[in-house]
Symmetry: C2
Subunit: 379 residues, 2 copies
Amino acid sequence: MNDRVIGILGGGQLGRMLALAGYPLGLRFRFLDPAGDAPVRYLAEQVVASYEDHLAVAQFGDGLMVATYEFENVPVATARALEQRIPVYPPPQALEVAQDRLVEKRFFAQLNIPTAPFAPVDDRASLDAAIEQIGLPAILKTRRLGYDGKGQTLIENRADIDDAWYALGGQPLILEGFVPFARELSVLAVRGQDGAVACYPLVENLHRNGILYRSIAPAPRLTAEVQLLAETYARRVLEALDYVGVLAIELFEADADRAGSARLLANEMAPRVHNSGHWTIEGAVTSQFENHLRAIVGLPLGDASARGCAAMVNLVGSLPDVTMLLALPDTHLHLYDKAPRPGRKLGHVTVCAGDATRLAERLAMVERYMPLSPFSPGD
Amino acid sequence: MNDRVIGILGGGQLGRMLALAGYPLGLRFRFLDPAGDAPVRYLAEQVVASYEDHLAVAQFGDGLMVATYEFENVPVATARALEQRIPVYPPPQALEVAQDRLVEKRFFAQLNIPTAPFAPVDDRASLDAAIEQIGLPAILKTRRLGYDGKGQTLIENRADIDDAWYALGGQPLILEGFVPFARELSVLAVRGQDGAVACYPLVENLHRNGILYRSIAPAPRLTAEVQLLAETYARRVLEALDYVGVLAIELFEADADRAGSARLLANEMAPRVHNSGHWTIEGAVTSQFENHLRAIVGLPLGDASARGCAAMVNLVGSLPDVTMLLALPDTHLHLYDKAPRPGRKLGHVTVCAGDATRLAERLAMVERYMPLSPFSPGD
């Protein structure tokens, strides 16, 4: 296992946590990230360059055992160029699907995975046609480069249409029907090179201003039916893409259908380790980071079971008093070594407990120390 | 917490695991180690120089928040020189005590912590006197620089005396009575800057050829009386030294005394994180590495409770088939990125379970994959 260097496109907190999980496996890391102050800068080799810099990408790829990404907006061309020389997991096609909301929704539809109703919007006329087809309320979104709530706007009624078009028009868009849902869940699954699949228990996610604020795992009141349904969808995606590594799918849990069956609508997928899986570091037998690495280097997957109950809270914009947090029971701090900035994810806290009641008590204590920071778009 | 650089004297596996535990706390690391191929070389800044190189030590110390050690044979003078400029934890006096078996045993005796009978041996006459006093069998040991079974020889009967003297004579020695003991235990405790103390459950250790082979935590059949006794001894040492950080004490569990009370004899102490505490990474609420860092930077200590049962097996000399190991349930691999060499600790495996019976089953599976390597002195 020595002399095995893993290349990671993107050097943010996900890359940082991949490296921390991978060193114990005897792996080494090289990152490509345009930012000189990337969170990985002190703990691994970093090529500081644009993802479009062909020379830098070639230098980055030199001698790697395998390359992966921790950021889904890596140019697909860069991933494909690397793939000419070394294995790249997950497959670049997964990037392609995840980078375009329309391609993604059509991909889910092809696999018989339910989604909210959607229609492409390329001009003002097609926006009107899409509203005719889907009805209101609906959400107008850019097809590309939207994350953490950026690049989308709600159209509640006809009076909002002009404003929405003014805000987003002139680029490829998608209109999505607004589906009443009880909560957002996410499923994290990992597939090995041998096709073995492991799924983590579903997570319940709560967002604030479009940014993930909190995840609870396993999701409260999770039924075996819902878990199985989500796993079925995840497996379809993994197999359709001949996927290797960790995949996250965000799901809306809608009301049961007329037959009383559970309904999950796929919202989007991330072809990488995911913020809603950070709880797995302390809360699962094998973390998402370790399992992603096991998958891409061809090791057997680890057990994805939860060890108990866990909740993760993101530290966004500014840091709380970490001394107070660390005095709380079974509370674990993860800082990313990033400069504070409104809306920026600076770290997270995971709190664990043996049962859901105890977890709720501990989570309440953790949340008491969270700063009341202004949430605004960031990274 | 940012811009806080921790200096660590020694860049071996203990330093590596300290860094991996410290990055999530927002800490950064600088190591001093004479070896260019130290296990920390890829994951932190390293000054490659001798511990006696005053210029390099000064350069190493520049701008550090605090310094610590992961290797107890760091020259005390180096630690004291650093202490003129920055806080150094644990206190250099702890190094002084731990580096000399005679000083150490006298220190235990002063604190009313039982040990095997011992006597200093400086020449052949004092060896004879020591044998007269202590009786045989006994163990002749160098006072300094002995570890992993190096620098010691058993004197079973009078016929062995000449050989023992021939092997070790000419340097400061100590003769220790051979005490029949049921097993070796170790206690790991951590003390914060505020004087708070947390103790991990006692660990049962098994050595092979003088090298730690396996630890089980909590120690099987551990009674509250024995745990409390060990904690009492650990607290005495911590308080006598105004200690900050993790301390390990190796203990022999002897037969109960005539009144039926438990008896623990202190063998030696290590003023640092310890091999018998590696299980805490997965097996305790807070690992020994994180707790050492929390202590030396002035954060509150984390819970030292076990999460369940855990066993750690050292990978010595050569590596087993890690693919097979990683397929076993709740089995965790830690490689140190060291070149294989007989007797060298290359990594360890920790296996966890909810109860002792299940742990024994899983440990048996893990041990089936251990290489039958020749054990010989190493590092």
